[in-house]
Amino acid sequence: MSNNDFYIGWMPKAPGSFARHTKKVIIALLILAVTVGVLLATAQKKFSTGQFEFGRLTNITGVYFKEPVPAIKVMSGKDLLGRASYITIPLIGYGKFGAGGIILDLEKEKHLDLVKKEITLKGTLLYNDGKLLMQIDAADDPLVSVNKAAGENILPLQKELGEQTILGEIVDPKCFFGVMKPGEGKPHKDCAIRCISGGIPPVLKVINNEGEANYYLLMGAQGEKMNQAVKEFVAAPVAVKAKVVKYDDWVILYVTDKKSISPVSARQLIKPGSQTIGCIAPCLK
């Protein structure tokens, strides 16, 4: 080894052979950076089309219901057959909380019972796949006005669809329908558990044989909250045995108890032609 072929980092210049080699390594590493970046970025699963209108507040007028989940039912005119059409917009709170607390605070503050009253709420919309939800945040003064008590015609249409076993994944609707991508699956598991623990109603996401998705609200047999009970099943494939009730434009699964939910393998969930996968109610698009 000759003197000028010896490398010491504190010398201002590396010897020629070292400099040439290092230059090659640097170019190789920069090419590596671009290649890895392109490969990993393109390999990501498609992001969902969900939208969260962050920073944009919308006023919505409809009838408030506390059960089965806090929601407002908005009449949107008549459909093609002349029937009244409507959309039920479940309400959720700020951050990883349900809307129950905020509504309760508003009722206390105004000395009012809001149930079945027509109200105007100001909040942030989030939506995907035919489902619309609204975030209400105490900081936004969400209760714009309380109009009047709604008539009996507003009561929900219920139709029992019998007991069924349904395969799907339990998600928290806030993240799933817009706030986060992915808002489902393993990477999002912790967050979904946090949201559901915070009172956001758990939803079972079901894909039928045609690849269409439908979303069912999970409730206890008597309509009680399942938030704590479903925690350990969130964000993984499960089979849910439940009494199925079509409830206006949502479907509710009344689950007898925790034992009616059981983990299944991911393969079962996507197996085509599986008997238990189904879109019981029309898949709204």
Binding site: G9, L30, T42, A43, M180, D190, I193, R194, S197
Partner: protein, 355 residues
């Protein structure tokens, strides 16, 4: 170590190194985010940020972990080893951005403290596929943090190089935690196997590099020295040692560097007091044995760093008999002065040199 070490602060090479690290990171992040945005108009920036920093950190980790064995296989990689700490600190910073944003996104604004949530949201520690993978990332980040804050030479001296080096070996534990963090995390969700395959390929490449470098080292270490007399071992012919350079021998587990300086032979311990660099791969510059890694210097005649520095390494007795060089592997106390063994230059060599 040499006076010149302190005189040089942020020299040209360091600047190039840091600019390169910066360019590498910017190039990677912008590629990842741009491709994500183009192929997914519905992407969210938070996710792009969390994922681009995550994958950049693991990419840098692979680069960092391959530099060690690469320099052992080919010295030309030395410029990358020097200031590898800057790469380490950069990697930690990038991983910190990833970890902080993940904690914010997935655990903040909930009904418990985000750090409690990190460990208690998902409690399925007894399951493989449902394992709380974020906790693994957290522990890896803690290890990188400890390495980053102890990275300055101050800590190296305070902790002693041995403890410091042991601390650095935890990087392999952290690496394993990161691999599991990915495998039990996002790999459980993605349907495209690219990330999975790349992580496996990266691990395979690292293991291969370490094995190749390791077996070379072991082969050198296991070289047998049979000819012994009075504690001295025959090691080589005097002409085998190039001027101002050394040959390294491992005798009875002692790593010894045999230097030739002004036609005399001197043996000192091969391990640099700074971070254990291989002194025998260094050279004699201005009369000082100079470590190839960061340039600490030692005098051949006593193994001491020139004043005002205080580093000292063990020295050894050397004997020259005819053309043969004999070494005594019994170390003398650090900094012991002993005369160099003059090389007996054969007449024909002298004649050749004159020609």
């Amino acid at each position: 170590m040499g006076v010149s070490y302190l005189a040089v602060g942020w020299n040209r090479q360091k600047k190039i190194y840091d600019w390169f690290i910066f360019a590498f990171c910017v190039l990677y992040l912008s590629t990842f985010i741009a491709i994500t945005a183009i192929s997914n108009p519905d992407y969210t920036f938070e996710t792009a940020l969390i994922r681009s920093t995550a994958t950049l950190a693991i990419l840098l980790l692979h680069v960092i972990l391959s530099i060690g064995p690469l320099t052992r296989i080919n010295k030309k990689f030395l410029p990358l080893l020097y200031n590898r700490r800057h790469l380490g600190v950069t990697m930690f910073t990038i991983a910190l951005i990833h970890g902080s944003f993940s904690i914010l996104q997935f655990h903040a604004l909930g009904n418990v403290n985000p750090f409690v949530s990190l460990f208690t949201a998902n409690t399925q520690y007894n399951s493989v596929s449902k394992f709380p993978f974020q906790a693994l990332g957290f522990f890896a980040l803690v290890i990188f943090f400890l390495m980053a804050i102890t990275s300055h030479d101050f800590w190296l001296h305070t902790l002693s190089p041995k403890i410091w080096k042991t601390l650095h070996l935890f990087v392999y534990l952290a690496y394993f935690l990161v691999i599991m963090h990915v495998m039990l995390g996002v790999v459980q969700y993605e349907t495209n196997p690219v990330l999975f395959v790349m992580v496996l390929a990266g691990a395979a490449a690292l293991i291969t590099l370490h094995l190749v470098a390791g077996t070379r080292e072991v082969r050198k270490d296991n070289q047998l020295f049979k000819l012994k007399s009075e504690g001295f071992v025959y090691v080589c012919e005097s002409r085998d040692v190039p001027d101002n350079c050394a040959k390294i021998f491992c005798i009875d587990k002692e790593r010894i560097a045999l230097f030739r300086f002004e036609d005399k032979l001197y043996a000192i311990h091969n391990v640099c007091k700074h971070q254990g660099g291989p002194l025998g791969e260094g050279q004699i510059i201005d009369g000082c044995i100079t470590c190839p890694w960061h340039g600490y210097q030692y005098l051949p005649q006593n193994g001491q760093s020139p004043l005002p520095f205080k580093e000292k390494v063990n020295t050894y007795h050397v004997k020259v008999a005819g053309s043969q060089v004999w070494l005594n592997p019994q170390p003398l106390p650090e900094g012991t002065e002993r005369p160099g063994a003059a090389i007996i230059i054969p007449d024909n060599q002298i004649i050749e040199n004159v020609k």
